[in-house]
């Protein structure tokens, strides 16, 4: 078997094992939280009878183990089950929400990844001169400010004062692609600002590291321009750390943006998960948790494989 295929299949198997472990952990932790779905739904208006009836209906009276393995039995057949609280089909709800989250993440990534790498290269080209300092200064500033604050500032000026964009990034099926893009312009912009710095700094650091190498000196001595040296000789060797940090940020764009979702009222996965945790809606929490874990594991796998492919020594192990 080709070593790459072998590696991928090994990684996949390990990934599934990890997912299983993650689901068990999530289930255990959600169970350990005080209260249950029945109490959370009824809240202050709970009477003992209503609580008992609701628990019975939700099937919360059965042992935790039984409920977990029922859920597991469902998910291996591709059935995510029903929400405890509103009886809606989880697969359908998640499908919509995940689609929205991926859409926002993709738009933010399409803007931010090339921009970050380009800015990183630019910073190396002009290292320790004003363009480098300017780029570092701006990106480090935007990453240091909490994202909700950037969100509010952007809403105040662009939406309330100028009225150019809507502060509600609500999208639905009846909108055209262009309308959707327009609707999510502000959150995508804020997310770009948030993820730009880490990728830019990593690109800069990884390439600067290589710029000390002997082969770079050779390239310079044979008369290549600085940018050619960076793009053709340094960058390919820096791909591995850059891809790692890019994947980390992509994963963040999918799983870590609940604050931005709340500020811009964007119907993504984050808010869905937070609501489900608050209401102890265990099947939904599990479903979201597994999706998020899968995103993390998947992207990390991609990063590893790309690193291997980009490195001849790992590509052809002896």
């Amino acid at each position: 078997m080709h070593p790459i295929i072998k590696l991928v299949s090994q990684r996949l198997a390990l990934g599934f094992l990890l997912l299983f472990g993650a689901s068990a952990l999530i289930f255990g932790l959600t169970e350990a939280l005080p209260g249950d779905a029945a109490q959370a739904v009824l809240g202050q208006s709970a009477t003992p009878e209503a609580l008992a009836n609701l628990r019975e209906e939700m099937g919360l009276n059965r042992p935790a183990m039984t409920r977990y393995f029922e859920w597991l039995g469902g998910i291996v057949q591709g059935d995510l089950g029903q929400s405890l609280t509103n009886k809606l089909d989880i697969a359908e709800s998640i499908g919509k929400r995940l689609g929205n989250t991926l859409f926002l993440a993709c738009v933010a990534a399409i803007v931010s990844v090339p921009l970050a790498i380009f800015l990183g290269l630019l910073a190396v080209r002009y290292r320790n001169r004003w363009p480098d300092k300017l780029i570092s200064g701006i990106t480090l500033t935007t990453v240091s400010i909490p994202e909700f604050l950037i969100g509010y500032v952007v809403i105040y000026y662009v939406s309330v004062k100028l009225g150019w964009f809507s502060s509600l990034a609500m999208i639905n099926d009846s909108m055209s692609f262009g309308q959707k893009l327009y609707a999510i312009a502000l959150p995508a912009f804020v997310l770009t600002l948030v993820v730009l710095a880490q990728m830019m700094r990593m690109t800069r650091a990884a390439i600067l590291n290589l710029m000390q190498s002997a082969y770079i000196e050779t390239a310079e001595l044979k008369g290549l321009s600085t940018f050619q040296v960076i793009a053709r000789h340094a960058f390919p060797n820096a791909i591995s750390p850059i891809v790692n940090v890019v994947m980390l940020n992509l994963a963040y764009l999918v799983v870590g943006v609940v604050v931005v979702e709340v500020v811009f009222v964007y119907p993504g996965m984050g808010q869905y998960l937070v609501d489900a945790v608050t209401k102890r809606d265990v099947p939904v929490v599990l479903a979201c948790g597994v999706v998020f874990a899968a995103v993390y594991i998947g992207l990390n796998m991609v990063a590893d494989i790309v690193s291997i492919l980009a490195n001849p020594r790992l590509r052809h192990p002896k």
Binding site: N53, Y152, S159, V160, S167, K279, D281
Partner: protein, 528 residues
């Protein structure tokens, strides 16, 4: 100039002048913008409701776990949804009287035990079915039978039997209750086809708007129900309820005109927001109150001297000022205020007094160990700050309060009604009887102060059966005094509903029953 303004106002009333034109002309006459705006609003109101337009709410209090099943309603967005697609038998009017909805009239027997609701004829559900008394009966059964999971279960307890008879729906009670119609106005009790027995979350009712889109935690879209039984209700073509849980995002959406009405404006920004030219901040005195509750049956709170000491040690005026920023009024350690019918104004207001607090504390003989007050941000907005202020004033009287912060998550199941001393809130009820029956009757599930006094219970039942309002008022006055002097309730303040409404809307009226005009904005307001 006056004549000209009067003429212009008349033109507005006749629909011949738009707001923009009116403001422009008024400015040319040297009238200030604020003045002109008021004049325009008055003139437009005189013109009466206009039909049409798409209304958008931006509301806090919606989660992706929400269901359309009325039995599960516990927060603002589901409450608002229910008001769009559904009707109750009766509604509490802004003045506190009972207003007919699906019931044309209500009649009680002389002993207030048997109540007959005469149902409106020819009311149609959104699925085309005609409403019958069977549907009403099934609805009430679903909220009160043994399998009920309803938030209204608590108020349905005193019902002995119910029956459907032609156009009438009849309720027989175990004990007399002169206020039964108010119980039937509860927002959970939306009449559904077949009582919602088959599909409670279908969102099908008799209301002025029909459900189009249901995305829990995101938005709910409703369109006009042309067959509604009352053509005066519902002036808009569509109503969209958008869930905006973040306070800043909500006010920004209102300011930039993306929504027309928002709930829960934070008191600290209300003044600033009110200065925006395109909206009005409405503050409505309600029956909701923020409280600190002590269990009267648990040491050290089983000692009335200690309870009284704590009641004197809280600076109510300061709390209204700092926590509510003036959007509220001071409480008097009873759950009733002047927004309730039959309120006795002569009950003396308890004043903040370090001396009296210290005196009662001394008498209580408390050993000086810290008194633990549990609090979370979710108990009520500003609860943690309020507790800190309480702690400081109590310390002046020598009472050692220790604040224990609890997580918001799980507060209502783990702390409230479990721990002996904590912060909480009450939304208030339309009538005194309901408030006392819900939380102060010895046997009430939500007796969160463990106030169990036989004499009090007797008075409560006597008041239920008393049809003479003067006598009832007298009984309620005694009960209020009893809770104030012996109860476990520290009620420093009644909070207002603070809401932001776009100036494009007209027809606002203050309604103390629930927030957002008791959910009636989409029925009663209109676009100018």
């Amino acid at each position: 100039m006056n004549e000209q303004l009067t003429h212009m106002s008349k033109q507005v009333t006749a629909g011949k002048l738009t707001r923009r034109e009116f403001m422009g002309k008024a400015a040319a006459l040297g009238v200030s913008a604020a003045m002109a705006s008021t004049m325009f609003a008055n003139a437009a109101r005189a013109a009466g409701p206009k039909k049409g337009g798409d209304l958008k709410f931006g509301l806090q209090g919606g989660e992706s776990t929400n269901s359309l099943d009325p039995a599960t309603y516990a927060s603002s967005v589901p409450f608002q949804n229910g008001k769009q697609f559904g009707d109750q038998l009766v509604e509490v009017a802004p003045d506190g009287t009972i207003e007919p909805r699906l019931a044309e009239s209500v009649e009680g027997s002389a002993d207030a035990k048997v109540w007959t609701f005469k149902l409106r004829n020819g009311v149609e559900f959104h699925n085309g079915k005609t409403m019958t008394s069977e549907d009403v009966l099934k609805t009430m059964e679903r909220h009160s039978n043994e399998d009920s999971k309803s938030g209204a279960l608590g108020i349905m307890k005193g019902i002995e039997s119910m029956k459907a008879d032609g156009d009438n729906f009849q309720v027989t009670l175990n004990e007399p209750n002169a206020d039964l119609p108010y119980l039937m106005a509860d927002y959970h009790l939306i009449i559904q086809p077949d009582g919602g027995m088959d599909n409670p979350a279908a969102g099908i009712g008799t209301g002025p708007y029909k459900l189009e889109v249901d995305e829990p935690g995101v938005r709910h879209l409703f369109t006009k129900n042309e067959n509604h039984w009352n053509s005066d209700f519902g002036n808009f073509d569509s109503v969209e309820v958008v869930v905006i849980n973040d306070a800043t995002a909500r006010t920004a959406a209102l300011q930039s005109g993306q929504v027309h009405a928002v709930n829960r404006v934070e008191p600290k920004v209300a003044d600033l927001l009110g200065r925006a030219p395109n909206l009005t901040v409405n503050s409505t005195a309600g029956r909701g109150h923020y409280v600190f509750i002590m269990h009267c049956d648990t040491a050290p709170f089983d000692n009335n001297e200690l309870r009284t000491a704590l009641k004197y040690a809280i600076n109510r005026a300061d709390l209204v000022d700092k926590v509510l920023r003036g959007y509220g009024s001071i409480g008097n350690d009873m759950p009733i205020n002047s927004a309730y019918p039959l309120f006795d104004e002569t009950i003396e207001q308890r004043e903040f007094s370090i001396e009296k607090a210290a005196e009662h504390y001394k008498k209580s003989g408390h050993d000086g160990s810290p008194i633990i007050l549990r609090v979370a941000d979710g108990a009520f907005p500003g609860a943690v700050d309020a507790a800190a202020l309480f702690q400081q004033t109590a310390a002046q009287a020598g009472i050692p309060l220790e604040i224990k912060r609890e997580p918001n998550d799980g507060y209502w199941s783990e702390v409230w009604n479990v721990q002996p001393f904590c912060a909480s809130y009450w939304g208030g009820r339309p009538v005194q009887d309901q408030m006392y029956s819900t939380a102060y009757l010895s046997t009430a599930d939500w007796n969160d102060t463990r106030f169990k006094v036989q004499a009090f219970d007797d008075m409560l039942f006597a008041a239920k059966a008393e049809l003479d309002t003067e006598k009832r008022k007298g009984i309620y006055s005694q009960m209020g005094r009893m809770v104030r002097d012996e109860g476990g309730l520290i009620c420093p303040m009644f909070n207002d509903f603070v809401e932001g409404i776009s100036n494009q809307l007209d027809g606002w009226e203050s309604d103390p029953t629930q927030e957002m005009m008791n959910g009636n904005i989409s029925r009663k307001m209109w676009f100018v």
